[in-house]
């Protein structure tokens, strides 16, 4: 199911985890890795002078500079290139989010893998994923995998996928991707609903009634869609949703968390990445996949 994996990287250390996961997946599933580097944003339309994505410096992109960037990428990811059979480096200039989406569309990528931000460690960036990820995750036709923390890149094949649902319409696409992945890879699937009781003082009976109701809802909503697939668990944990999702992933040693890109906004063109998803991306100890559109699931 992963034939072509697009790794979007600036070459910065913040993307090393994403690279590690992308190449390892490619090795395991015989996929091709396309390493895309957007060298800079043109200072004027079609200009050869660009502002470097990482440093902001003005650079003239000529053949010599392209060759240098390609060599840098080959050196940076030298060990990873050695483990895969099929790979290619793609260099371009432009607005990073647009170029990533364009490349994914032109190449018909099955999965985009990227870091959560370009590495800015300011308080702002620590609390929110970067704008490139926001834009790519919203508009991509294929699922977008984010590897933010270094510990999220300790990866050795999928043995348990955690699908977190809030029962929204948008979660259906994410479920289809999670199920298809679990079926084709042959791993376990955990279906989780995190019951949001943050900021509420509820009677314990009421909480437990809601837990029972949520378990029933998972059974009636998703189990009939699973056919013969039996390697699943149903879990409902109450608390703050992003905390419970991260905790469950840790408890179950999940290799991948799958969630809908957003849940409340029905128009995908208007929706920004959901706040729960945002926090899960930044905190999870495994890669997080955001599914926005049904095209590639």
């Amino acid at each position: 199911m992963f034939k072509k994996i697009l790794l979007a990287t600036s070459g910065a250390p913040s993307t090393f985890g994403a690279a590690r996961v992308a190449f390892d997946m490619a090795r395991r599933y015989g996929a091709e890795v396309l390493v895309l580097n957007v060298m800079g944003v043109p200072t004027k339309a079609f200009s050869h002078i660009v502002n470097d994505v990482r440093t902001g410096e003005e650079i003239e992109v000529d053949d010599e500079y392209r060759a240098w960037v390609e060599e840098e990428l080959k050196t940076t990811f030298e060990k990873q290139f050695e483990i895969v059979e099929y790979s290619q480096i793609k260099l371009t200039t432009g607005v990073p989010s647009r170029e990533i989406l364009r490349c994914a569309r032109d190449e018909d990528a099955d999965l985009i893998v990227m870091g959560a931000s370009s590495g800015d460690s300011s308080v702002y960036r620590k609390g929110y994923p970067g704008s490139t990820l926001q834009k790519v995750a919203k508009a991509a036709r294929c699922p977008v995998m984010t590897v933010h923390r270094e510990t999220a890149s300790y990866w050795g094949g999928f043995s348990n996928i955690l699908f977190a649902t809030d029962f929204s319409k948008q979660a259906e696409n994410a479920f289809r991707f999670a199920l298809k992945s679990a079926q084709e890879i042959g791993c376990d699937l955990t279906l989780l609903h995190a019951l949001d009781i943050s900021g509420k003082v509820l009677d314990q009976n009421e909480i437990e009634d809601q837990i029972i109701a949520a378990r029933d809802r998972i059974r009636t909503t998703y189990v009939p869609l699973m056919g013969d697939f039996k390697d699943y668990d149903i879990e409902v944990w109450e608390g703050v949703p992003f905390v419970e999702i991260v905790k469950m992933a840790r408890e179950k040693s999940a290799d991948m968390i799958v969630m809908a890109h957003h849940s409340r906004e029905l128009n995908p063109e208007k929706a920004r990445i959901g706040s729960t998803m945002e926090q899960v991306i930044l905190r999870a100890g495994c890669p997080v996949v955001s599914v926005s559109k049904p095209d590639k699931v």
Partner: protein, 117 residues
Amino acid sequence: MSKKILIVDDDQEIRSYLSELLGDNGYETVTAEDGSEAVEIAKAEKPDLITLDLEMPNEWGPRFYRRISQDDALKRTPVVVISGLNAIKYAIPKAIATLTKPFEAAQLLKIVKDAIG
């Protein structure tokens, strides 16, 4: 009867070094070069403690840990993570200790002694 330690590391030199170090201090050792092999050996040998590398070619340390933590006979076996990677303390939160390569022999021996005697 001496305590048995399973050493899981893809680096032959590290395996030999740890085998010698722990062997000289009265422990019996068995070794595995990746997570898949280590699961089979762990099931057969029932070690008292496992030293675990994180980055290995066929199966990473955390995958191995997940597999043994599902096995009733192995899930309480203490694990010491030994790796050159950064942020290793987050990789297996239930490990009893984490050591970053290069490490002091005395440090490892103290951890092992405290855990299994």
